[in-house]
Structures are given as structure tokens and as C-alpha cells.
């Protein structure tokens, strides 16, 4: 405000004083346009601020939406059942072959003796997850003395029951518009009255592999797959990337060939990732005959993808080391290699590590190139080696997002949250390394 006023006053004062045919001075022109220039600057600043606010709003909308949809997935509905480990149904010598589903069916029958008829029994059995049998099996394996005893056990409820308890299914909707029948609701109410249906921490989500039953599905399989894949990527891309950057920056002669290489590296960084997947399919699978869906191949493909990022970041880090360091090292008799390994590389390392971590974070979020090499697959067993079939976190999210079961919606969002935590952690490490070790000149 103040500037504007003085500007106006000054210009009017000057123009009055110089009424007679004095030539227009530069100062007058500047003063006349001053208010407009100030306005333009304020407009520019406001636009910038609006852009930031808009992007923050979108980001927070995204986060709230994911959190809102996903936070319920960390809890799972369990039903307490009085299981009788009937010696007649269990063969002591062969625990794996026992009919554990039968034990659960029997427990439900004792709970609701009035239920008869095949259809009703079927509906009754549907309120408990098909995975409950595995919990009994585990219990008995850990403690075979349970045979003959009665034990109150918390077993996971079916996904539809889980959705009802979390309010994703409307209890008061007409019967044909919800996936639970009136009878099933009545049975569940009985459990609720006795406080035997509860939401507990969903451990399965963090310890299990994929499953087609939402209540049994977990992200551990995909997480392990991601770790294997990223390990291979890091092991290959970091040394190759750093060596390339060092050679190009410190040793390579500056001629047309190195220019061509540089342009190509910059271009590769912008190539869509699916192209690397196609390359991986053609070279690693078809030419070298490596196994499909293996983390090794995934790691190789992602290495191709992250290499340009690491090389570009590495070269930028090397460039920022002042030439005086190099000259000083050379002047006291260091060889060129000693100069690089003793002085330049340690100083450039924080920048290179930052670039590597950002490249890794990119690789962690990638699905498209993995599609071509068969890592978009349904895999239940947790991968145990670099050649076992496996999948990765973003692929797991993609597969769940495409599943018809309602309960996968919240699990999709929960898996996104886990992936985001990994990404934020990796970027935080990058920021920390930069802050701690970076030297400024």
C-alpha cells in the first residue's frame, strides 16, 4: 500500500513540475509503470501460492481418501467359538488329515441346534471364514494335548460379516440387496449379545501371502518379493551406475562419442517403463531362458530402468565437487585414480546415495515392466529365494483393486498405505543422508 501511494504521489508531483516542454525522463517512465509492476508481482505471487495450495489440497484429498477407506483393514472381525477337539474326528498320528472344517461345523451346530436343512446349514457355515480350519490346525500342531478338550477360540469371520461389522454393508437394507440373509443377521446378533464377536488387530494382513478370501489375504508375500527384487536392483544398479558416472565425469575424453552417450542416457531416463519390460521379456526370458515371475529377472529389468536416474544423479554430484580439490590432490602427487577414490568420490557420495535411493523408490512403485515378465500373478506362498515365483507390492495393490469382493476395497487402500510408508521412509533416509553428509562450498 505504502509503496503504491508514494509512487503515485511522486509521479503526479513530478509531472506537474515538468509541465513546460521538458523531455520525458527515464525516472518518470519508471515511476509511471511502478504501480502496475507491483500489481503484476503480487498477482504472480498469489498465483504461485494458489498453485501450491491446490496441489496440497489434492494431495491431502488423496491421503484422506486412502486413509478413510483403508484404516478399517487393520482390524478384522473375529468370532469366539467353543471348539471341541473331538478325538473321533482327529487322527493322532496324522494331524494334517483331520477334518478341521468338520470341527467348526460341529461347533456351530451346537451353538444353533435349531438350524436344520441343507440350505440353512450352509448359510450358517458361511459366517465363519474358510480359513478358520487352518487356525485350528495350527493350534493342534503346536499343542497336540488339546485332543479331547473344549477350547474357546477366536476364529476370523467371513469377509461379508467383517464388512457388516465395519458398517460397509447396510444392516437395514432389504434382504435381497445385501449379501447376508436375515437369518445370518439373527445368528450374528446372538453372538453380539454374548459379546463373542469382536474386532481385533489384523495380524494376518502383515504376515500372510495373497489369498482370494479377503480375511486371509496379506501383504507379506508381496513385501518379501519387493525386497528380493529391490536387493537385486540395488546390487546391480548402484555399482554400475557409480562406475559409469565416475568414468564419464572424470576419465572419459570430451568428444562426440561421449556426447552421444550422454544424450542417450538422458533419453533413457524418459523412456516409459513398459519398454524396459518388453526388453526384459525379449532378452532375459526368451534369449537367456530365465524363469518367469522370478525376482531376479524383475530386479534386472528394474536395474535397466533405474540406471539412468543413478548415473545422472551421480554425475551431478561429481560435478558439484569443486575442481580445486582435484587440482590439490594431483599437485601433491596423487594419481588420477587416487584423486577419484580418495577425494572426489567420498565427497560426491551423499549426492550419489540420494540419487540411488530416489531411483530405488521409483523401482519400488513400478508395475508396468513387471507385467511383461510374469510378476503380475496370483502367488500365495511366500517366496523363499531369488528364483521363486513372486510378486511385488504395487502389483498386489493392482490385483486387489480388480477383485470383486467388497472387503478388498479397504485392503487395497491399506496396502497403498504400507507402500507409502516404505516410500516416505526411503525418501526420509535420502534427505537425512544429504543433510548429514553434504558439504557445501
Amino acid at each position: 500500500m505504502w509503496c503504491e501511494n508514494t509512487g503515485n504521489n511522486m509521479s503526479s508531483a513530478v509531472s506537474e513540475a515538468s509541465k513546460p516542454e521538458q523531455p520525458l525522463r527515464t525516472l518518470d517512465i519508471v515511476n509511471a509503470g511502478l504501480a502496475k509492476r507491483y500489481r503484476a508481482e503480487r498477482r504472480f505471487r498469489r498465483l504461485g501460492l494458489a498453485a501450491i495450495i491446490a496441489s496440497l489440497a489434492f494431495l491431502s484429498m488423496l491421503f484422506t481418501d486412502i486413509f478413510w477407506k483403508g484404516h478399517t483393514a487393520f482390524r478384522q472381525t473375529f468370532i469366539q467359538m467353543n471348539i471341541v477337539f473331538d478325538p473321533e474326528l482327529i487322527d493322532k498320528e496324522n494331524l494334517a488329515a483331520a477334518d478341521y472344517n468338520g470341527l467348526i461345523r460341529k461347533a456351530l451346530e451346537r451353538e444353533f441346534p435349531e438350524v436344520s436343512g441343507r440350505g440353512d446349514r450352509r448359510e450358517l457355515n458361511q459366517i465363519v471364514s474358510p480359513g478358520a480350519a487352518f487356525i485350528l490346525q495350527e493350534q493342534l500342531r503346536d499343542n497336540p494335548d488339546l485332543i479331547g478338550q473344549t477350547l474357546p477360540l477366536w476364529v476370523p469371520a467371513n469377509d461379508d460379516v467383517d464388512m457388516l461389522m465395519k458398517g460397509h454393508i447396510d444392516r437395514y437394507a432389504p434382504e435381497d440387496e445385501r449379501r447376508l440373509s436375515d437369518k445370518q443377521l439373527a445368528w450374528l446378533n446372538r453372538f453380539e449379545e454374548q459379546n463373542r464377536i469382536q474386532k481385533k488387530f489384523n495380524k494376518t494382513f502383515f504376515t500372510a501371502g495373497d489369498s482370494r478370501e479377503p480375511e486371509l489375504a496379506g501383504i507379506w508375500g508381496a513385501t518379501v518379493g519387493s525386497l528380493y527384487t529391490l536387493f537385486v536392483t540395488l546390487l546391480l544398479s548402484f555399482p554400475i551406475g557409480v562406475a559409469t558416472a565416475v568414468y564419464l565425469e572424470e576419465f572419459a575424453p570430451k568428444n562426440r562419442w561421449t556426447d552421444i552417450i550422454e544424450v542417450n542416457i538422458n533419453n533413457l531416463a524418459a523412456v516409459p517403463s513398459i519398454v524396459f519390460g518388453l526388453l526384459g521379456l525379449a532378452v532375459f526370458l526368451n534369449l537367456f531362458g530365465m524363469p518367469r515371475s522370478a525376482p531376479t529377472v524383475g530386479g534386472l529389468v528394474l536395474t535397466l530402468m533405474t540406471l539412468p536416474t543413478i548415473i545422472i544423479a551421480g554425475r551431478a554430484a561429481l560435478k558439484s565437487v569443486p575442481p580445486s580439490i582435484r587440482e590439490a590432490a594431483l599437485s601433491i602427487g596423487a594419481s588420477k585414480m587416487q584423486m577419484v577414490t580418495h577425494h572426489v568420490l567420498p565427497l560426491a557420495m551423499p549426492g550419489m546415495l540420494t540419487g540411488t535411493i530416489i531411483g530405488m523408490a521409483q523401482a519400488l512403485g513400478e508395475t508396468a515392466p513387471l507385467l511383461m515378465i510374469g510378476m503380475v500373478a496370483f502367488i500365495v506362498d511366500i517366496p523363499g529365494s531369488f528364483t521363486d515365483p513372486s510378486t511385488v507390492l504395487p502389483v498386489q495393490i493392482y490385483l486387489w483393486a480388480d477383485s470383486p469382493e467388497r472387503a478388498f476395497v479397504e485392503r487395497t487402500s491399506a496396502a497403498i498405505m504400507v507402500l507409502l510408508v516404505f516410500l516416505i521412509a526411503m525418501n526420509a533416509v535420502a534427505v537425512y543422508l544429504r543433510k548429514k553428509f553434504e558439504r557445501r562450498w
Binding site: R212, P239, F288, G289, R292, A377, F378, D381, T387
Partner: protein, 348 residues
């Protein structure tokens, strides 16, 4: 210096180990590829099989029917898949490719049916469509409404334009893209079926079959049909937000979302489990998987997986696959295909 060498040597060691990976001579899990429509059913069987037997859980990739056959027919040997799922029958050209690559004996197994539904939001009334309405609303070229034999670019903007009995709502259909098997089945069953209801198009079938197929298989591209991607959940969400729109997707998604969307009646038949199973609902298609006979004795667990899939507790009328939305076959067909699987009878 030495610190730098550690990752380098590790990388070299890893590359060396990759060399040994190449010489992969056996595989102890079943490898399955193919249709994304069969994927939700095959995965349930695979999981059940993995948990109840001593075998590893099969690996199932969702590559689409066409992509599945391409991988399946590439050859015999552990690096090639053992089974491919498909939402359509194998084409003779694909059998040829298979033969050329040494895959001589293929066992065909039909597993059940899947309905394709046209659904809209529960906030409005259910639509009552005929196949003819569907054709007229979605084909790129339709017979001139003013009469005559010529085909004109689809002029219809609202459902009422198509058929005065239909509501006065803009035609806005969210459906699968051309790469999808659902789209293939939809144009084959609904659009061709609708074309046959119109005399001039029906006559074309006799005169110029290629032209007939082209007319029926080409869906309008003027914004009234919106390709919504392969994700059917997304279509359901969009229908919820926009009560004017109609979506095309598989029956299992309707089954899971009965509180949000409702299926349109097609030729007076509601898309229900019973109607599709009895073959009354016109837009339903068979689902298949194909087995490489040469692999059946080599890959551990193949026989058990096949018998699990073809057991009554899986594909029967009360089986767990029906819980996931698959429509079972009549008993006679089930018996026939179970017998085929048992004897591994290849396609002639």
C-alpha cells in the same frame, strides 16, 4: 577402495548364479496363465489345492485369453505354462500354432458359465432392454431410422430415441476396452444377437458375412460408449456416482454389489444366478481351461489340481466357485468334462 569392491564382487557372484538359473530343469509348482475372467475362479481352486495338499500353490498370471494362448502354445517344457484359462473356446489358428511348436495334445475343460450384465445405479429404475435396443444404442452404424437399407452413423442420443418405451436418459455406457475378453463376448452375444433382430442386418449376414461381423463388432466412438478400462470395480463406482450411466461387466461384480447397482432385464430376463444357469439369460458365455497333456505327468500336483477343479465341491451347484459368482454347468456336462479330465482326452 575395498569397500567399493564388495558390491562389485557380489554383483559378479549374482550374475554367475543367474547363469545357473538358466539351466532350470524342473519346476515343482504348476504355472497357469490366461483370462482375467477365469482368474478369480482359478485362484480360489489353486489356493484350496495349495492349502489342502502337500503341493505348492500354483502360480496364476492374468494375461488375458489371447495372451494366455500365446504363452501356452510356445512349446513343451518347464519354462512354458501348463494350463491356460480362457473365456472363449480355443481358435483353430491357435491349435495350429500349438501344433507347430510341438504342443500336440491339448485337453479342453469347460468349467462353467459367466453372465455379462448391463447394470445401472439403484437410484433409478431398472432398464428393460432387448438385444435389438442394445445394438441400436451402441453400434457405430445402424440402419437409417427414416427407412431404407443404407447404414448411417448412429444418430441416437437418448434411450428414448432407440425405443419409445425406454426412459428419456442420455445413452452413456461404461464398458470394457477392445483388449478385454468381456468385450469380445459382449459383441459376439449381445451385438450380433441384436443385429439379427433387424431384418436388413440379418439379410446382410447371408450376403456378406464379413460385413455383418464388422457392423456388429464395431461399437460407436462418439462419446456415448466410454471405455472404462479393465477394472470392473471402477465401473461400479462410476455407476454409483452417475445414476444416468449404464455399465457392462461380469456377473460376479453385480453379485457382490447388489446394494449399489441393479442388472437390466435383457429380453425380459433378469440376470440372476438361476436364469444364467438355466441358459435363459441371453448374454452368457462358457469359461474354459486348457491343459498341456505332455505336462500332466511331469509337473508335480497336476493330476490333483485337475481333480480339485473338477470336483463337485468346487464346480458343483453348491461348490465354492459358485460363492465367487461362477455359474455351474448342468450335471451332464460336468460329468462329461470330469471324465475328459480323468482320461486326459485331447481335442481332436
Amino acid at each position: 577402495m575395498i569397500k567399493k569392491l564388495i558390491p562389485l564382487t557380489a554383483a559378479v557372484a549374482l550374475l554367475a548364479s543367474l547363469g545357473s538359473v538358466q539351466a532350470q530343469s524342473s519346476r515343482d509348482y504348476i504355472s497357469i496363465v490366461g483370462s482375467s475372467t477365469v482368474y478369480p475362479f482359478a485362484t480360489v481352486v489353486a489356493e484350496q489345492f495349495g492349502k489342502t495338499t502337500a503341493n505348492k500353490t500354483p502360480k496364476i498370471e492374468s494375461t488375458g485369453s489371447g495372451g494366455g494362448f500365446k504363452l501356452f502354445c510356445a512349446g513343451v517344457g518347464v519354462e512354458h505354462p501348463d494350463i491356460t484359462n480362457s473365456s472363449r473356446a480355443i481358435k483353430s489358428s491357435e491349435i495350429e500354432t500349438c501344433k507347430k511348436n510341438g504342443v500336440a495334445e491339448i485337453v479342453e475343460v469347460k468349467i462353467g458359465y459367466d453372465g455379462i450384465v448391463l447394470a445401472n445405479s439403484k437410484k433409478t429404475d431398472a432398464m428393460q432392454l432387448t438385444l435389438k435396443d442394445i445394438f441400436l444404442a451402441l453400434a457405430k452404424e445402424v440402419p437409417d431410422p427414416k427407412g431404407g437399407k443404407t447404414l448411417v452413423p448412429n444418430p441416437y442420443k437418448t434411450w428414448k430415441d432407440v425405443n419409445p418405451d425406454l426412459p428419456d436418459r442420455k445413452i452413456e455406457v461404461l464398458g470394457p476396452p477392445p483388449t478385454s475378453g468381456t468385450r469380445d463376448a459382449f459383441v459376439e452375444l449381445a451385438m450380433e444377437g441384436g443385429g439379427q433382430m433387424i431384418d436388413s442386418i440379418k439379410a446382410m449376414k447371408k450376403e456378406d458375412e464379413k460385413r455383418f461381423t464388422a457392423v456388429c463388432h464395431t461399437i460407436r466412438e462418439d462419446g456415448h460408449y466410454i471405455e472404462a478400462g479393465e477394472n470392473d470395480n471402477l465401473i461400479v463406482q462410476k455407476l454409483e456416482a452417475n445414476s444416468e450411466a449404464v455399465g457392462i461387466f461380469g456377473f460376479s461384480f453385480l453379485d457382490q454389489n447388489t446394494d449399489k447397482v441393479q442388472g437390466a432385464l435383457v429380453d425380459g430376463v433378469q440376470p440372476t444366478f438361476a436364469a444364467i444357469a438355466e441358459g435363459k439369460y441371453p448374454i452368457s458365455r462358457p469359461l474354459f481351461f486348457y491343459v498341456k497333456k505332455a505336462h500332466a505327468e511331469v509337473i508335480p500336483g497336476m493330476r490333483e489340481y485337475l481333480s480339485e477343479f473338477t470336483s463337485e465341491k468346487a464346480w458343483g451347484p453348491d461348490g465354492y466357485l459358485t460363492d465367487k459368482g461362477m455359474i455351474p454347468m448342468p450335471e451332464k456336462e460336468r460329468k462329461k468334462f470330469a471324465e475328459n479330465v480323468k482320461n486326459l482326452t485331447p481335442i481332436q
